[in-house]
């Protein structure tokens, strides 16, 4: 008898930090645009119509994130924006003054920032300073101040994420800007996770460049933007038609940008009530999971306010369990979450963020990230609360076994299949 494959099980999606479902309005706007011909760079009527859609979208996005329309540079998403900011700023700053070779960033950044930084160190002679974070994942601003003041003239840029993608900790971006500004050092921030969850205002923040992406806020995949202060010099990564302020070349993806703008507008407009709602659900999730698994430890900042933690992030360590066992067992029950770790060829590595927060490799491997979003309901939390106890128990049994020699023969049948 054929059994119901897990893929058809009722789906509980708790991985909104990876990608959140598109807003229906964004789908509608994008779909409508897909049926219209016209390259925004063309001079004829269809081209002009497409250009108008792009520029209207740019204005809507600028309005939502607190920048001028001319400061929105469309890209293919978060990774490209981070690369453009880090490499583009490094090159332009060093070109202006060859002493500027230091890049200051934190040990808890996303790989889209860390990897270009390491690449610059390997290939362009950059000197990298990874600043420590505390046990909540927050940057030590004094360490930043010391690093900058040691030799401010040699700093090319500072890059610090607005909010951490794994544990949800909000970084002291304003304090960082205050330190850097005094020495004329540009600051880039990756606000991919922050936008739609905490108030994000580019101009008020004082940063010089800011990464945003569509698929984390209810827009389509493959489109994002780097918000670049108007007078900031940036060396391009992609050369060609120079479509985006000569900083970024490539045919402009009008439908995706229209979907992006619709999503950002909605996300920012409803941010406050959304944050309050998912913060409540998130706190419930944590409380109920810890009820079932009393030794589970919550990672990140416990306080759910815009200066502390993203409202939709719950990150927990389950001692004695492998994160990927937990993920697989929950997946089999139709519950999608993340180990929050970077994957190369699908091989989970212990999270560098948790390691930077002082956790052990073992703790890092025993952790799961649940992230809530606009489609999350109470029923999702109920389903997780019901599943987590048995799942942890089973993963724990698998986590401690190392070889058949360690287990009594026949032990297998004692953990036979359930329901």
């Amino acid at each position: 008898m054929s059994q119901v494959p897990p893929t058809t099980a009722p789906s509980v999606y708790l991985d909104h930090a990876a990608s959140t479902p598109m807003h229906p309005e964004a789908v509608a706007a994008m779909t409508a645009q897909l049926t219209r011909v016209g390259n925004p760079s063309s001079l004829h009527a269809p081209g002009r119509a497409a250009r108008r859609s792009v520029e209207e979208s740019r204005e809507r996005i600028a309005d939502a994130v607190g920048c001028r329309p001319g400061e929105v540079v469309f890209t293919s998403g978060g990774t490209e924006s981070d690369n453009l900011a880090v490499k583009g700023l490094f090159w332009s700053r060093r070109d202006a003054d060859p002493r500027r070779t230091r890049i200051i960033t934190s040990a808890a950044e996303h790989h889209a920032v860390l990897d270009p930084v390491y690449w610059l160190a390997d290939h362009e002679g950059a000197e990298v300073e990874l600043l420590p974070v505390d046990h909540l994942g927050r940057l030590d601003v004094d360490a930043l101040r010391r690093a900058v003041e040691r030799d401010p003239g040699s700093v090319a840029l500072v890059s610090l994420m607005w909010a951490n993608n794994e544990v949800g900790t909000v970084q002291p971006v304003k304090d960082v800007v205050a330190v850097a500004e005094a020495h004329g050092i540009p600051v880039h921030t990756d606000a991919v996770q922050a936008l739609s969850q905490v108030p994000v205002d580019f101009a008020a923040s004082g940063v010089d460049a800011m990464t945003v992406t569509a698929h984390k806020v209810g827009g389509p995949y493959g489109v994002g933007a780097l918000i670049v202060r108007r007078d900031l010099d940036l060396v391009a990564l992609l050369h060609g038609g120079g479509q985006e302020r000569d900083i970024r070349s490539g045919t402009i993806d009008t439908p995706a940008i229209v979907g992006f703008a619709t999503a950002v507008e909605l996300a920012v407009k409803h941010r406050e009530e959304h944050a309050e709602r998912i913060c409540g659900l998130r706190n419930d999730l944590v409380r109920r999971v810890v009820e079932q698994v009393p030794d589970a430890a919550v990672n990140g900042d416990p306080e759910c306010t815009p200066d502390h933690r993203l409202p939709g992030n719950a990150h927990l360590t389950f001692p004695g369990c492998e994160g990927d066992s937990l993920l697989m067992l929950l997946d089999a029950r139709g519950i999608a979450c993340s180990t929050g770790s970077a994957c190369s060829a699908g091989v989970p590595q212990p999270s560098h963020v948790l390691l930077a927060m002082g956790r052990t490799v073992e703790q890092a491997r025993s952790s799961l990230r649940f992230t809530l979003g606009h489609t999350t309901t109470r029923a999702d939390i109920d389903a997780l609360a019901e599943a987590i106890g048995p799942v942890v128990e089973r993963a724990r049994a698998a986590g401690v076994l190392t070889g058949l020699g360690d287990a009594p023969a026949g032990a297998p049948t004692a953990v036979g299949r359930e329901g």
Partner: protein, 368 residues
């Protein structure tokens, strides 16, 4: 049953998983990440360690319609298989890492974890057959396709391990499996077979060993006269029974070819001599592993001494309180190196296996 299909990215494990799913089992596919640095194993596509192989396995799981995950077993693999492989060579032995991987990884670490996670069995694409014997025990038998038979590398499995294993390809021929893969829409249908050792990407075992263990020159000595015939730049390039590449300046006095007879790991001395001295008729095996009950009397059966090697008629006796196995070969064998596995068969049934610790020539057996 809930079963876990170990998918290497090759055609065999893909078809095995598909057959298990079609038989009504609830199948989950996993790919074992065995390399600590997958990129370094990328060239050569030797079977199971590259990113392409992982992707091939994932695509096969998609087509079959089963969930798929990658399990990181690289630390275990490195410790239990790669380091063991190096240590064995350093000690002058010739290990079989595939048996070791089956014993320590696939049917131990992976199976244990699978059972603990609620699975009932592990499915692999090995060509071997499982049957239930008259005593109710699980029996491991050679595959229908003798050309592909892999019962040799499974000779380390215990009754408990066999009880939780499935080998859906045991009754098939490789050509059928490829045709079936194509009918099922599996893109790996025509992927070349893996061969050699998966963690040595270019197939140059000697070079790999030299890189890991360093070179050490030594003497090449004649077995009869004790005369030093030359020097070599590292004993890892030699295997017992090797004839070519000895680079001895002058021929033997009788003009006959010389073969590597012995490798002494500490001094690096390589002993060479005539072919008949390669012949052995007695083996001592250690670390025996039995698939079912331990033979309590001398067993007249056959032994196989290398993967895809010949069968030798033999009398097998368990000694030293079960810690040792004495094998008297009725058909003498040549070029047998300590470290190789002797797998004992009773007809088509695998009885067990042992690691060869010593070889002897007791009778005046001919070199043929």
């Amino acid at each position: 049953m809930r079963v876990l299909a170990a998918m290497s990215g090759g055609v065999d494990s893909a078809v095995a998983a598909a057959r298990a799913a079609e038989a009504g089992h609830d199948v989950t596919g996993i790919h074992l990440a065995l390399s600590r640095n997958p990129k370094s194993y990328r060239t050569g596509a030797r079977g199971c360690c590259t990113i392409e192989d992982s992707n091939d396995a994932r695509r096969a799981a998609d087509v079959i319609g089963i969930p798929f995950y990658v399990w990181d077993m690289s630390d275990r693999f490195h410790e239990d298989v790669v380091e063991d492989f190096m240590a064995e060579y350093a000690a002058g032995r010739t290990p079989n890492p595939c048996l070791r991987c089956n014993e320590k990884i696939k049917f131990a670490a992976v199976l244990d974890r699978a059972l603990a996670l609620g699975f009932d069995a592990v499915v692999t694409g090995h060509y071997a057959q499982l049957r239930t014997g008259p005593d109710g025990l699980f029996e491991l038998h050679r595959a229908e396709d003798m050309g592909k038979d892999q019962s040799y590398v499974l000779g380390v499995l215990s009754q408990e391990q066999l009880a939780h294993s499935m080998f859906p390809l045991g009754d098939s021929r490789k050509e059928q499996v490829r045709v079936e893969a194509q009918h099922r829409g599996l893109s790996v249908a025509h992927k070349p077979d893996s061969h050699d050792i998966c963690f040595i990407s270019d197939g140059d075992t000697g070079g790999w060993l030299r890189e890991k263990l360093g070179t050490g020159s030594g003497e090449i000595v004649d077995s009869g006269t004790g005369e030093v015939l030359g020097v070599h730049e590292g004993s890892f390039g030699f295997t017992i029974g090797q004839r070519k590449g000895l680079r001895i300046g002058r021929p033997a006095p009788d003009g006959r070819p010389r073969y590597v007879l012995d490798i002494e790991p500490v001094s690096g001395t390589v002993t060479v001599g005539p072919r008949e001295e390669l012949t052995v008729d007695h083996l001592t095996g250690i670390r025996p592993r039995w698939c079912g009950t331990v033979p309590d009397r001398p067993l007249e059966g056959t032994v196989q001494l290398r993967a895809h090697g010949d069968e030798h008629r033999a009398a097998v006796t368990v000694g030293d309180g079960g810690a040792q196995v004495e094998v008297r070969l009725r058909d003498p064998a040549q070029g047998i190196a300590p470290g190789q596995a002797a797998v004992v068969y009773d007809g088509s049934r695998v009885v067990g296996s042992a690691t060869i610790a010593a070889t002897r020539r007791t009778a005046a057996t001919s070199g043929a």
